[in-house]
């Protein structure tokens, strides 16, 4: 049983082994479903020269934006990074490298990485700047470009509930890139709102099976809203 107990007791333990220069895959879309405490722990640890793969890079002062403050990110692989003044500055100053990747290609690169598929062809991006230098092949009369899978040293993931076996479910659209990141790293750390007893989550409802997960920690979350829109 102990071999399947993925729970850890502290955020320091959750990110034990994360070192300078590593590649970190982070779940989240905007500020929705981001592993906010794990990001804060990377800031506290001061790990540097990171390559971070995430759809976005947080905002100033929250989420992955925190890691820009002490220049901990060397390279960002993302589809959209516009929400962030510090990001802009570091990019223009040449302190930060960015590899813009179409959102679907980014998701599929992570999915492929987790599934052991080294590369795939897609029509997305053919004829655009992102196709430069990439292998082109025609399928069904249409040109496609070769895209390589992404894997990480660490994945930092935000779930809703998990059991100690590491089975995870996500809540609403906070799912986004989280299960993809979870499957594609050597060490996958999931922080959740609640750790439940094994069996409490219906096996058919599990989004991320425990086989992908190495460490589970229970946290409390601010869940900041980026664009609060309501109807009256």
């Amino acid at each position: 049983m102990a071999g399947f107990d993925k729970r850890v007791n502290s955020y320091a333990e959750a990110l034990d082994g994360l070192e300078d220069g590593m590649t970190v895959l982070a779940g989240g879309f905007g500020l929705c479903g981001i592993p906010e405490n794990l990001i804060a722990e990377i800031k506290r640890k001061g790990t540097r020269d990171l390559t971070v793969v995430s759809n976005n890079c947080g905002v100033d002062g929250f989420g992955l934006g925190l890691l820009l403050e002490d220049r901990q990110i060397r390279k960002m692989i993302a589809s959209y990074v516009g929400e962030n003044a510090l990001f802009e500055k570091q990019l223009l100053d040449g302190e930060l490298e960015v590899e813009l990747t179409p959102q679907g290609t980014l998701a599929e690169k992570m999915r492929a990485g987790g599934a052991g598929i080294p590369a795939f062809y897609t029509a997305t991006g053919f004829g655009t700047p992102i196709a430069e230098g990439k292998d082109v092949r025609e399928f069904n009369g249409r040109p496609h470009i070769l895209e390589h899978a992404i894997t990480g040293d660490f994945a930092i993931v935000k779930g809703w509930k998990a059991d100690r076996y590491g089975n995870v479910i996500y809540r609403h659209t906070a799912q986004n890139f989280n299960p993809l990141a979870a499957a594609a790293a050597k060490v996958t750390v999931v922080e959740v709102e609640e750790i439940v007893e094994p069996g409490e989550i219906d096996p058919t409802q599990i989004h991320t099976p425990g086989i992908y997960v190495d460490r589970i920690i229970c946290g409390t979350f601010e869940k900041r809203i980026e664009k609060r829109t309501v109807r009256t």
């Binding site: 929705c32 990074v81 997305t124 609403h172 986004n176 809203i225 980026e226 664009k227």
Partner: protein, 218 residues
């Protein structure tokens, strides 16, 4: 008179069909959701992983875990489903979306579209736009016909870096509805009170003008 933002959305909404799955881009395309005809059911796909996007929440319903691709808080309608980003783009890239509506800086007579990058200005990223234009059969581009300085955005060849190549067949501007066929724009409809001459003057790419160009009605 050039079409207002609302009229552009209204005109595009006429292309909706009962049972359509539709992806609406950020900006004017989002407004199309306000003009779904009565008695017609469509499902809006939001590429962050929501099929069946509903209205904005009330204060009581507000939930940080429920957002759309524009990062706005939303609700899910009855019949909705929620899934991860790879699944979401499998729907898009697999050609399962019936209609995609998005904005652009430029389109050209070859069906190329430029919508994400202006060299020399800060590049924020393409988000899901490249996947959407590559994956959808049925795309309507919504844009103004010319820039504020009067420069045409309907060109012989796009000047900006592309979002997708040879993928656009239909364009609605504030002046006209056009289709792209055999390397030319074909003028199909004009905005109320807008002359064919004005559209010709503001279209830099080759334009085919049929004998009769009906006026849109609202």
């Amino acid at each position: 008179m050039a079409l207002s933002r609302e009229q552009m959305a209204q005109r595009v909404a006429r292309e909706l069909q009962d049972g359509y799955y539709v992806n609406l881009g950020i900006g004017i395309p989002t407004l199309v959701a306000n003009y779904v005809p009565d008695g017609m059911e469509v499902m809006l796909q939001s590429e962050n992983g929501l099929l069946g996007m509903g209205a904005f929440p009330t204060e009581a319903e507000l939930d940080a875990d429920m957002i759309n691709a524009g990062k706005q808080t939303v609700t899910a309608r009855v019949g909705a489903s929620i899934f991860n980003s790879a699944e979401s783009f499998a729907m898009i890239r697999g050609g399962h979306i019936d209609l995609t509506v998005l904005g652009a800086f430029e389109v050209d007579v070859q069906g190329n579209i430029a919508s994400w990058m202006i060299p020399g200005k800060l590049v924020k990223g393409m988000g899901g736009a490249m996947d959407l234009v590559a994956g959808a059969e049925n795309i309507i581009v919504l844009m103004t016909h010319a820039s504020k300085d009067g420069e045409s955005k309907l060109l012989p060849a796009c000047t900006l870096p592309l979002t997708g190549a040879n993928c656009i067949k239909r364009v609605l501007t504030d002046l006209a509805y056009l289709e792209i066929e055999n390397g030319a724009f074909v003028l199909k409809e004009r905005a109320p009170g807008v002359s064919v001459e004005e559209i010709v003057a503001k279209t830099a790419g080759e334009l085919v003008v049929p004998d009769h160009v009906p006026e849109m009605t609202f």
